[in-house]
Amino acid sequence: MRISGEVMTKKRNDKSDTDLLGLYRKMRVIREAETALSGLFANNEIPGFIHLSLGQEAVAAGVCDALRDGDTLASNHRGHGHALAQGVSLDQFFLELFGKDGGICRGRGGSMHIADMSVGMLGANGIVGGGLPIALGSALAHSIKKSDQVAVVFFGDGALGEGAVHEVMNLAALWNLPLLMVCENNGWSEFSRSSDQIRAEIGDLAKAFSIPFERVDGTKVRDVRSMTADLCDRLRTGQGPAILECLTVRWHGHYEGDPQKYRAEGDQETATSTDCVALERDSLIGDGFDAATLDALDAEVKAEVEAVVIAARNGASPSFATALGDVHRNTIGSHHV
């Protein structure tokens, strides 16, 4: 079993200084990485299409920061933040988005398929709702192995349209599994208001399945983090699954390049007026951190992303023959992750 490994920042439940800075740094990394990606995409440097989580960084950072080594995570199409917060290395991340051989998926997956078994990241997913059954199974494995690990899955408010999501809620409850289902409610399902697609509140569905449910302001990273930590504490002691709804805002279009004509006048401006990264920066200042420390951190992250982008852009291309030889895992060899 290789599910374990390094994480970007030490994960702790206490709120020491390094911890708070580490948490903030996670958000910063996501912000800088995706801001860079937005430009690169516009410049036609990134193949395919990408869904940015700008505005939603606090959810990814807050949830993943509360996890422990060996926990597992399944994500969705808007998964850059989840991957980075979970500790996927920044250079392998960018190499993948550029489609390079050094990418975490060797250039075969791209934005919607970032996975990194060394940090328990079981994969972003191009299929809406696709991560939930996978996370259910991962939680089942934790439970059967009698470990105190948890499985976490991120999904959007629009994913409630998919039946399998409801199947998973039922089975997680029925089997009392350590599964934390994190709904990132940004109000949108692609080009539509989720309220035009989904008639149920997730909290009411949770109630119907007798699953403990919490809702937090997903732009407050500390609230997200502490609520996740609390819920995971319960999960680790065999108290069954939980659902966490994080109210958040989508700054950009559904995908980059989306002209967003469907978005009402001023809506995007309202959304971007809530900046979870800036909010946390203000909190840190309020806590007594000095601006210079934070400026330095910001600059360092920015420089790191810039350096990584330059390296990734020039990464080696993947070999077709290697890819073709990798459709199956060879029968001889390790059978496990």
């Binding site: 390079k100 997956g109 299929i127 080009f191 697609q197 890819a323």
Partner: protein
Amino acid sequence: MSDTRYGRAITRALNDAMEADPSVIVMGEDIGAVGGPFGVTRGLQKSFGSERVRDTSISEAAIVGAAVGAAMTGLKPVVEIMFMDFTTFTMDALVNQAAKAHFMFGGQVSVPMVLRTPHGGGINAGPQHSQCLEAWFAHVPGLKLVCPSNPADAYGLMRAAIDDPNPVIFVENKAMYGTPGKLADDPEPVEIGKARRARAGSDVTLVAYGAMVAEAIAAAEVLSAEGVEAEVLDLRSLQPWDKDQVLASLSETHRMVIVHEAGVEFGIGAEIAAHVADAGFDELDAPVLRVGAPHMPVPFSRELEAEYRPNANKIADAVRRVMQ
């Protein structure tokens, strides 16, 4: 005649069908105001309202199942599944319900519905947004299956699909939505089950569909310079497919190469080759070759995807092999 594009021709077919028949409705995810991510339904909701041009939740299984029930109750639903990869969610509704109802209920009812969906690569959409899964549907009795290669056929096949009393899977090629072409002012339906001779030739028959028709023609031009004249047949319909025309061409050329973007193994081309190896055996002067994708998921990166997809070069190489 007017200029159009592959995607716009489909839009027009939907529009014309909705105008001609109030029982035609269109459903799918974000197909209304925005017209879907590829814009194929753009403008329809404005013309026909949100009852008949209906946005749905992300519920492919229920939407396609609902199309079956709506069709049984007198509507003619056209459902968009945003990427063919997501038809994985619709298999029960299509295979166990739509395809079988007419037969299984003793001929009492028909299920006049169309499922539109784009397949194929070319835009680096990666392994879950690029698949060509049409072989699955061709194997299912009760379903019809078409895949146009140009705007005029896209229009004509869509009209025929909507008119057909049976469930029809209408496969679009997402890399072709912008492909230009001509459309008659008063365009006609294209009969399902009939191939089209896209290029005349006497030395070898190239059987293709969808995006590979243009590649086959390009290969034929190259080969022509080498003294080999390839006939190119555009299948247009995959279930039923035009056995007669394929065999007739073979009996002129005695050589055949079958081309599709989908994976070769257990793909559409396998049936055509197998049929030819039976009914056309005596006409064959060379092995039947197939050109298609290798047996691997569609890779993301530009280089990998480019090498993954079949193209005129690979087709020409295959023809050179059968001409030896």
